[in-house]
């Protein structure tokens, strides 16, 4: 519904920072039902970073707060004359002045708003200085420790002079349920599927750090095991979920030494250890915490700083251009200085705040070759063939928001692990028989298994076969999960604990609506196609745009080989074919759009009417 309303309400070609941009907050129909992790909130807007479809998702208990406030969807248009925050409660809303909190960091804002409203029992979504200063990758922090991350939607709120959005805590909220008997039955089944999943124990222990277990980590002090021993204090969980995969953590060294907070996701490691070569958790967590306080999205800010370090090392950017900073890889103090410069748009930070693609265009001198982005969005992971697999890397090239985490194609994860890591995480040897047990466990129908894993079914992470089909399938499933308000940590992570059949039963239990697995798959396809059409309309997202920068196809990276261009092109062919889109242009066809009942909407855009091919080639 977010995708639909964004497509419908946004006038074609509107600048993301203009008052006409539309900001949509959506809460799924399962939120508050007592099913595990049904607490997620999706936000959507035109992204200031890509210019295309922007979306981000967060949870913990947040969705229940919006439900308690009385709203399932909030659409914000226009621009306030002065800084404000919006307080939704009791089926209504209030607009409060925010001059006194404009300029504050995100955590400080949360404290001040609670103090101003004399109520601790609130959820506060807030932007930091980065959002106020229209940094193109500014995020929105939720209650100090969670964030709506990618695409710069914090800057959209900043452009509207909205500092924060507030709702009551909804821990006592219970969604009305159509069929309590069925809900009880499916709830038990979902708990069983989570708790018996082969990856459950390891995920409870390490959270998303399972991706960087010892043998596949980026350094001695950057493994899941090191994190568990040195930085994790205790596990934390979310709404109605048995899988306590979040953590209370502590920073042991550096300027924030002794600080304890909820966190410890793998994203900061990908952001700061990868591109910037920081070498230990304390440095990574420090930079992560400072980014959050400024309201900077980590993967993008890490990507743009990493690019600056590369260009500095290669002599393409001099110290005269970096405000005197010696921008060397692995220097935590330099990263901290740059975080402030970017958030406040000071000196070189003003250029970096534009994102890596635009920054490289502004500076030029060959720096363009080293920028790593897809449709102007910094990489979530470098796609050069690496763990957790080919599908994960490829998904970024075609994802509506240029991010594999949105798609979540994780079927290859188990095979991507070295034998000793596999044994450590799964508690069994990496043998053909045990891989067979994992395949057997995955919540895939017979048809899905054959299509995605072949016949006989097998998982081979370093081949390209069926990986584009896997991405197309995961996009649809992921869209359904986001629409329903469910956490992907258990639903698509683990070893695919849940599938369409489970979601069909959940919807029936809560809403009384009967949707077959086939109908749900079609709805997922409709959502993805609509997001694609938004990008075609706004940024001409054709086959030429669905690609990685040239350097990815030409050069290896830190032990990984270059991405084979010919394989990439074959993946694109397979991906468009799987969607039923035109292979030559990468565009959805009119025929397909009619099949998905989207034709009437498309006819309202002359751009789309003239651009889309009738039938696929």
């Amino acid at each position: 519904m977010n995708s639909y309303f964004l497509f419908k309400e946004l006038e074609e070609g509107v600048d993301p920072f203009s008052p006409e941009n539309v900001f949509v907050i959506g809460v799924g129909p399962l939120v508050g039902s007592g099913l595990p992790g049904t607490d997620r909130v999706e936000i959507s807007s035109k992204s200031p970073l890509s210019g295309g479809f922007g979306s981000a998702n967060a949870g913990e208990h947040l969705g229940l707060g919006f439900k308690k406030a009385g709203f399932d969807q909030i659409i914000i248009k226009g621009k306030s004359e002065t800084p404000v925050f919006l307080f939704f409660h009791d089926d209504s809303f209030e607009i409060h002045p925010a001059e006194g909190i404009w300029g504050l960091g995100t955590c400080e804002t949360v404290k001040q708003i609670k103090k101003n409203l004399q109520d601790d029992n609130l959820h506060v979504l807030t932007i930091g200085p980065a959002g106020e200063n229209l940094v193109r990758f500014a995020n929105i922090q939720s209650d100090c420790y969670m964030s709506f991350s990618r695409g710069g939607l914090g800057a959209v709120l900043g452009s509207k002079n909205v500092k924060a959005i507030v709702v009551p805590r909804g821990n006592d909220y219970h969604a009305p349920v159509s069929r309590p008997d069925l809900l009880n039955e499916i709830r038990k089944e979902v708990f069983r599927r989570i708790e018996q999943d082969p990856l459950y124990q390891a995920t409870c222990k390490y959270g998303t750090m399972v991706f960087i277990s010892k043998e596949v980590s980026l350094g001695e002090k950057l493994s899941a095991e090191y994190f568990y021993e040195n930085n994790k204090i205790k596990p934390l969980g979310c709404y109605s979920c048995p899988m306590r995969c979040s953590h209370l953590i502590r920073i042991n060294e550096g300027p924030l030494k002794g600080m304890e907070f909820r966190g410890g996701e793998v994203s900061p490691v990908r952001a700061f250890a990868g591109p910037c070569s920081l070498q230990d958790f304390d440095s990574v967590l420090t930079c992560s915490e400072i980014s959050s306080e400024y309201g900077l999205e980590m993967l993008s800010v890490g990507g743009v700083i990493g690019w600056l370090m590369t260009c500095f090392e290669k002599g393409l950017i001099s110290i005269d251009e970096t405000d005197g900073l010696n921008v060397r890889f692995g220097d935590t103090d330099v990263v901290i200085s740059l975080l402030e410069k970017i958030a406040l748009r000071k000196g070189i930070g003003n250029i970096l705040a534009e994102g890596v693609f635009r920054a490289s265009q502004i500076i030029g001198k060959g720096t363009e070759y080293h920028q790593l982005s897809v449709k102007k969005v910094e990489f979530q992971v470098d796609p050069r063939p690496a763990r957790p697999g080919i599908a994960w890397g490829f998904a970024q090239a075609v994802s509506s928001r240029s991010d594999a985490a949105k798609t979540h194609p994780l079927l290859e994860f188990s095979d991507s692990l070295p034998p000793e890591t596999f044994k450590h995480l799964f508690g069994m040897e990496k043998t053909g028989e045990n891989m067979g047990k994992i395949i057997e466990w995955m919540a895939l129908s017979k048809g899905e298994k054959k299509e995605l894993l072949g016949d006989p079914a097998e998982i081979v992470w370093q081949t390209y076969s069926r990986k584009a089909k896997t991405v197309q399938w995961a996009e649809g499933l992921s869209a359904i999960i986001d629409s329903l308000g469910i956490c992907k940590r258990y639903s698509m992570d683990l070893c695919l604990a849940l599938g369409y059949e489970h979601y069909s039963k959940m919807i029936e239990a809560v809403t009384g609506l009967d949707f077959s697995t086939k109908e749900l798959a079609e709805i997922g396809e409709r959502i993805i196609t609509l997001q694609k059409l938004f990008n075609v309309r706004e940024i001409n997202a054709t086959r030429e745009e669905d690609t990685f920068p040239e350097i990815v196809f030409k050069e290896p990276l830190k032990g990984r080989h270059r991405y084979p261009k010919e394989q990439f092109e074959l993946l694109l062919d397979e991906y468009y074919e799987s969607h039923g889109w035109d292979v030559k242009t990468g565009l959805p066809t009119v025929e397909k759009i009619k099949e998905l009942n989207l034709y009437d909407e498309i006819c309202k855009s002359q751009t789309l009417v003239h651009k889309l091919p009738n039938k696929g080639k």
Binding site: M1, P19, Q73, I74, E522
Partner: protein
């Protein structure tokens, strides 16, 4: 329709006023069924 009430609000910050508040329950039914 069980647990889904589907309340939508549209806010126009240019006027600092609520532009529209309506039920989107019907829309949800239609959109899920692909009839919108």
């Amino acid at each position: 329709m069980g647990g889904y009430t589907g309340k939508q609000i549209i806010i126009d910050l240019n006027t600092n006023r609520e532009k529209l508040k309506k039920s989107i329950q019907r829309f949800l039914l239609d959109s899920l069924a692909g009839l919108e």
